[in-house]
């Protein structure tokens, strides 16, 4: 479960993400499956045309939590390599906001771990996405409450019953 090649690389970056950088040095002769996910900026959200996005994060906490999630998912799914990086700042359409890489002996656990780690990072890490629309308005994307002792506990990070709260404060 040790990933020597990049143990000190930041998980939160304000520069464009590189899949090559994430893959290089992570090769393992005992792994027959490599699964990769990139979350890219879409030109639409729930019917509204999107011009660009701005991501912000509590960088120190987000970095620490992503590392913890990587370790948790690697152990749970038995995958030797599980890595995520997330970009912050202003992103244009088509740019990658998140990259996740899993290497595993077989593809079943690679797919399962990849989905789980992406879900966990999206639902648990202090990162916020503000969408700027082509009409000049903007809104924060509805998020997941990460307070352990808010009104209800956060139930299931990977499932469909996590809590969403609408913070779509529209600004012209």
């Amino acid at each position: 479960m040790i990933q020597m090649h990049d143990i000190n690389q930041p998980r939160i970056q304000d520069t464009p993400l590189s899949l090559d950088a994430l893959l290089t040095g992570s090769e393992r002769d005992d792994c027959g499956a490599l699964a990769v996910f990139a979350g890219t900026v879409r030109n639409h959200h729930e019917g509204k045309p999107v011009a660009h996005l701005v991501y912000t994060a509590h960088a120190a906490l987000a970095d620490k939590m992503i590392r913890g999630i990587e370790q948790e998912i690697a152990a749970k799914h038995g995958v030797p390599v599980c890595r995520v990086v997330h970009r912050i700042g202003a992103l244009a359409i088509g740019e990658s906001a998140i990259l996740a890489v899993v290497r595993a002996p077989h593809r079943a656990e690679a797919f399962a771990a990849l989905r789980a780690v992406v879900d966990a990072v999206k639902h648990r890490v202090p990162i916020w996405k503000e969408e700027f629309y082509t009409d000049g308005s903007s809104a924060f994307v509805t998020g997941c409450c990460i307070a352990e002792d808010a009104a209800q506990p956060h139930e299931d990070d990977a499932g469909h019953d996590h809590r969403h709260h609408d913070h779509g404060h529209q600004h012209a």
Partner: protein, 86 residues
């Protein structure tokens, strides 16, 4: 000692920063103070902010702390509204 007042600085993230209109706020709290006391003081800023506070996690350094966590003079806490990475 009980009865004296402390200042706690509050860093706002995401929608909390937009609602606050600023990255940093500060609140004066009577001792002994907890995170819950800080949130109660911040809720005075208005109904929208008060509603958002209920959904916020609170961090001290790189730890998320519960509502019951004690605060001391000079602490800086972070308001973490519901998150949406990816």
């Amino acid at each position: 000692m009980a009865g004296s007042r402390i200042e706690v600085r509050v860093q706002c993230f995401g929608p909390a920063r937009r609602l606050a209109g600023d990255e940093w706020l500060s609140v004066q709290l009577g001792e002994p103070a907890t995170v819950a006391d800080a949130l109660a003081a911040l809720a005075q800023r208005g109904d929208d902010f008060a509603a958002l506070l209920k959904q916020c996690a609170v961090a001290l350094g790189d730890e998320i702390v519960r509502r019951t966590y004690p605060l001391k003079a000079g602490d800086e806490i972070a308001l973490l509204p519901p998150v949406a990475g990816g």
